[in-house]
């Protein structure tokens, strides 16, 4: 167990629900679930979830910390918001799923190499650099996320699309040299660092 995870587990003991309420985006909503399952049935990627959202909620209440945080399921969220608008208890399910994924990622117990986890990381890194996402760099990063050899393969596989997009002026090869960015990229970086610091403090992360 890594440090952050160890500390969290030690601090909350068996009360995983409390941990989720304190530290996960919209986690205080979890307890309001009444197990109707409409979220599970509404998700476009539902068939690929090992644990449906409502089941994850039950698992949280039952203290199944490791199973939840190491689950692949919430990384399947496409942010389509079907679950949110249908939930009879108005749980912000999309956000809770995002929050759980983020928390698992932060504690570094989310599944290693989970593709969405990697893509999300790369996306964030891309935006933090300049304040705006550079689609080309981001795409290349995505292709090379599994290593150089795999990246070449991915890139070759997708090169048809890439070429077509370039032809359609929707992928600019010059972006690799710099591309769009915010003037105040520095301020943005500082601002994000501050936000993280405040949030960590509020959530009781000591490190």
């Amino acid at each position: 167990m890594n440090d952050l995870n160890q500390q969290a587990a030690a601090h909350y003991g068996k009360n995983f629900l409390k941990e989720v309420e304190d530290r996960v985006e919209d986690g205080e909503w979890v307890k309001m679930c009444m197990q109707c399952g409409v979220c599970a049935g509404s998700c476009p990627l539902g068939p690929h979830w090992e644990h449906s959202p409502q089941k994850i909620f039950r698992m949280i209440m039952a203290g199944k910390r490791d199973e939840v945080l190491s689950s692949d399921s919430m990384w399947m969220c496409t942010s389509c918001y079907n679950c949110i608008v249908r939930c009879p208890r108005k749980l912000p399910i999309t956000h809770i799923m995002h929050g759980l994924a983020h928390y698992a990622h932060k504690l570094n117990i989310a599944p290693k190499g989970q593709p969405t986890r990697e893509v999300a990381r790369l996306f964030w890194n891309s935006l933090v650099q300049t304040g705006r996402v550079n689609e080309l760099k981001f795409s290349l990063a995505v292709y090379f996320k599994d290593g150089f050899v795999r990246g070449i393969k991915n890139a070759l596989a997708m090169q048809g699309i890439g070429l077509k997009l370039m032809k359609a002026k929707r992928l600019n090869p010059m972006e690799i040299l710099g591309g769009h960015k915010c003037k105040d990229a520095g301020g943005i970086k500082k601002m994000l660092a501050k936000a993280k610091e405040i949030e960590d403090r509020r959530q009781g992360f000591s490190s």
Binding site: Q35, G41, S42, P47, Q54, N82, R86, P88, K90
Partner: protein, 428 residues
């Protein structure tokens, strides 16, 4: 109608469904003067449109028959149909109530012979069939209608059809000159027995009630099963008239849902369990009913009924709030969702889907006197001065049995108001 017949000893009951009829009769049989007003052309309300009651599978019209007989034999109750309350002023023990009487275009001379209906050509959506069937624009609401008088639909007034109806009546019972009337009556106490309405199923968009012909509501299904109903009691689905043998019942259609009705409507679980009997009755072992539910809420000794349905091999239960309904190429509704007991995904086609729609207070959208206290769903909790009270499903989602209890209690509350008025006056 003048205000002189009613006094501050009169109890006004608003709404002529099972609760209103009960409140009126129970008070009248204690010797009190009662005015029973009903917005519709007949007494009977929603229960008169049900086929059977749970758990006995007996017929609502049986109880209605007894109540109507009580009413016919009791001169303490004065019934006013097509009468709507426009406003209430005054206070406990001394109310003035303004009523709007809509024209029926048929007077008390009507013998219910039916000649006017035979003469009229225009057809309207039958308001007593939830639009599942048409009726002539001169019609008797239903076979148990009280008063047993025909009604002319306002749409034909001023047309040749209205004249045909008048010409056909041998008893001078059709009066095309009737107009809206406003009258004021006095009352000492008021019982609001305004009942419920089915939640607008079209608002539950994932279920496509407005898009798919074979998605209907539980109240409509009652009409399909009823021998007096649009299909003569056959369970035929609307899209193609095919026998509906494989039927899905979706619970909490609108209820227990903060996007729709916050409350649990109480009756829907039992209603669906009951309706599986209709399917079983129609098709025997070839029937197939599936109930999709969150919690089966059949409290007290109704548990027996639940157990009986559970033991019926043609009925199965899926613990799931259905996520959405799609339609396949044959017009079958396909239900998508997850059985949460152990997490099983399904996409199941049925012949017909019955939405167990929730109960909304009938008064939602209607201005009630300021004095009346409502809960978060719009049900009546009482009035500030205690001179008015609710009865039956106007107060809470209730089944018939509990509505009648509630109405009986309401009758006593009203009696107390007029009793106190009379003792105070006597003391003066």
């Amino acid at each position: 109608m003048t205000s002189s017949i009613a006094t501050n000893q009169t109890i006004l009951v608003v709404g002529g469904g099972i609760s209103g009829i009960t409140a009126a009769l129970e008070a009248a049989e204690c010797g009190k003067q009662v005015i029973l007003v009903e917005r519709d052309a007949t007494l009977g309300g929603r229960t008169a449109l049900l086929y059977r009651y749970f758990p006995k599978m007996c017929h609502p019209t049986c109880g209605l028959e007894i109540n109507l007989r009580r009413l016919k034999g009791n001169r303490n109750v004065r019934v006013m149909t097509m009468a709507e309350v426009l406003g209430v002023s005054g206070q406990r023990g001394d109310y003035a109530v303004k009523l709007k009487i809509s024209p029926r275009y048929v007077n008390a001379k009507c013998t219910a012979c039916g000649d006017c209906a035979a003469a009229v050509e225009a057809q309207i959506d039958n308001p007593y069939e939830y639009g599942l069937a048409k009726t002539k624009a001169a019609y008797l609401p239903h076979a148990m209608a009280y008063p047993m008088q025909y009604v002319l639909d306002p749409s034909i007034i001023g047309t040749a059809d209205a004249d045909k109806a008048r010409a056909a009546c041998k008893y001078d019972a059709i009066d095309l000159d009737m107009r809206d009337e406003t009258v004021e009556i006095k009352a000492g106490a008021i019982v609001w027995a305004t009942g419920w309405k089915p939640y607008d199923a079209a608002k539950i968009q994932p279920y496509g009630y407005d898009r798919f012909a074979n998605v209907i509501t539980s109240v409509e299904f009652e009409r399909l099963a009823n021998p007096h109903g649009p299909t003569g009691g056959k369970l035929l689905r609307p899209s193609d008239g095919k026998e509906a043998r494989n039927i899905a019942f979706i619970q909490c259609a609108g209820s227990r849902d903060e996007n729709h009705l916050r409350h649990c409507s109480r009756i829907c679980c039992m209603a669906s369990l009951k309706q599986t009997h209709y399917v079983r009755e129609a098709y025997g072992e070839a029937a197939k009913s599936t109930i999709y539910y969150i919690d089966i809420r059949v409290i007290d000794r109704l548990e027996d009924f639940y157990l009986k349905v559970q033991q019926d091999p043609t009925v199965s239960f899926v613990k799931s709030k259905v996520a959405k309904i799609a339609e396949d190429k044959d017009g079958n509704p396909v239900l998508h969702g997850v059985d949460t007991e152990g997490y099983h995904r399904y996409a199941t086609a049925h012949d017909l889907v019955v939405l167990a729609v929730g109960m909304e207070p009938e008064t939602n959208g209607i201005k009630l006197p300021d004095d009346i206290l409502l809960d978060s769903s719009g049900f009546i909790e009482g009035s500030q001065d205690d001179g008015m009270c609710g009865a039956g499903s106007a107060t809470s989602p209730l089944d018939v049995n509990r509505s009648v209890q509630s109405a009986t209690a309401a009758a006593l509350r009203a009696i107390q108001v007029v009793h106190k008025t009379s003792t105070v006056e006597g003391a003066r």
